[in-house]
Symmetry: C2
Subunit: 302 residues, 2 copies
């Protein structure tokens, strides 16, 4: 007989081991576990056989843990706790906590606020795994559809009767360039002037062709960046001009490392972030909580 034991320990043996140590003897452990003493003895022997080593030293009157046994006890306890956690998870799911929750947000939104909300959620020790996905413009909605996310925070208006849309407080974007860029000196620039320069824009991750013309304008020579971090760096290197969320360039504007463009069409633009969820799917407790915290953090539309 070839002995290729997978060495599987089993939780019941570990539970018995733990009880024996806690209660101090096989017999009292048996009492605590509603078993007979011989059943306890059996489980201990089984554990020792599975491990291939003695867990108790029986040379004395009372069985004492061997050094190995002590470590097994400690590690086994961890195992039991983990097992307990697994079952408690299920209970919590039964109480309305969803196993997972996906939130898609637009990268233009102030990430500090978003992280604050997520930290609050994490601190509550909720059983739900929350997945955050960052997309841009149309990409948000697309991801929401495709990945079956529960919530999204988008800037692109949509009309689907199966969706619940809650407008949040407006966000401002501002048209900026580096101070050494030629456009920084322009007073009351017209669109035609802008078109002679490179516009920096964040790549819309949706593949949809047509979307409202307001996202990208001008646009003879457009340079695409993957996100606003990269875009800000490019702007500061005077690679071109472009729109940035106000909160992400406030300190640069104050420090003068970026300046607001004086554009006739208006150098500021307002977006309305919208918190969207599906009406045809029930909201779990984590989704409910997250929605409330987002509304609180971002403020309702006035």
């Amino acid at each position: 007989m070839v002995l290729v034991t997978t060495m599987a320990v089993d939780l019941e043996s570990l539970r018995v081991l733990s009880t024996v140590v806690r209660e101090g003897s096989f017999a009292r452990a048996a009492l605590a576990l509603n078993k007979t003493q011989s059943a306890v003895s059996y489980q201990v022997h089984k554990l020792e056989q599975q491990l291939g080593t003695a867990v108790f030293d029986r040379s004395a009157y009372r069985a004492e843990l061997t050094p190995v046994g002590e470590r097994i006890l400690v590690e086994g306890q961890r195992l039991l706790d983990q097992a307990q956690y697994v079952s408690s998870l299920v209970e919590q799911f039964a109480e309305g906590w969803e196993p997972r929750l996906e939130l898609v947000v637009d990268g233009m939104l102030p990430s500090a606020r978003l992280l604050a909300v997520l930290k609050e959620m994490a601190d509550l020790n909720i059983p739900t795994h929350i997945q955050l996905r960052v997309e841009f413009l149309g990409g948000v909605g697309q991801r929401f559809e495709q990945a079956g996310a529960e919530l999204m925070l988008t800037l692109v208006p949509l009309s689907d009767t199966r969706l619940s849309v809650q407008a949040l407080a407006d966000l401002e974007t501002v048209l900026v360039v580096a101070p050494e860029h030629p456009l920084a000196l322009a007073k009351g620039a017209e669109l035609a002037v802008l078109q002679q320069h490179v516009e920096l824009t964040v790549h819309d991750s949706s593949y949809s062709k047509a979307h409202g013309g307001t996202q990208t304008f001008g646009g003879e020579r457009v340079f695409y960046l993957s996100d606003f971090r990269a875009k800000k760096e490019a702007l500061m290197m005077a690679l071109g001009y472009g729109w940035m969320p106000l909160d992400q360039v406030e300190s640069e504007l104050q420090a003068g490392t970026l300046v607001e463009l004086d554009y006739l069409g208006g150098s500021r633009h307002r977006y309305t972030p919208m918190l969207v969820r599906r009406l045809d799917q029930p909201v779990g407790r984590a989704g409910q909580l997250l929605s409330e915290k987002l509304q609180q953090q971002f403020g309702l539309n006035s």
Copy 2:
């Protein structure tokens, strides 16, 4: 029948769940596990019953994980890994790695070197739990005896034929005060002069009364600190004078925030740290390794 189930999951069911997902179907999982398809079905049902919730959605042709099932899979996998770890531990113990190893060291020894050694050990991913205890002077030997530690690094010579003693490279201590302390100005101070001031000393944690007079000298007004960190702070606050391990005050001496006392009896003193282990106990692999690394880090006595 009262249903007060403790909700115990069992590892076998989780193993089956994991295999079903990996293999893609109940039948192929059965093949992989050397069971029949109906045994797999049975285990899955058992798991679902134990958890009180569906793990697979059977409405489609192939069974698909429910959202809850996905989380159970992930957490269950962690559980299985942990279980695997528990059995692998035992294998390693069988290969000569001791379950635990206690090292008692004198707090006067340079802690950076000690930590470097411990980090090296930790990086090797050894199954042994290494416990470090810091004591002072006679307290080291006492703890070694009493707690049954495997190794110690002590400064106090001892003669026990059952111990193996390996001398390491000498350590230097230096007599220092704060520059604003009156003693800082003293030239060639004698013992009588020192005795007029407060001596700071680390409390010997052993309760033994008599020990070699060299540890604490002078000693009319002695102030006891719990460790060298506290002692250094007290010294810098000019609370008194005292011996410090050279390596712990080197930067202060250079910066001038502490100065070496000009004492006729010699303002430097050498200690010989000794690595001690028991001859009557076999050394495990971790103890062997740790000894080697300590000798390497601290250097052999020349």
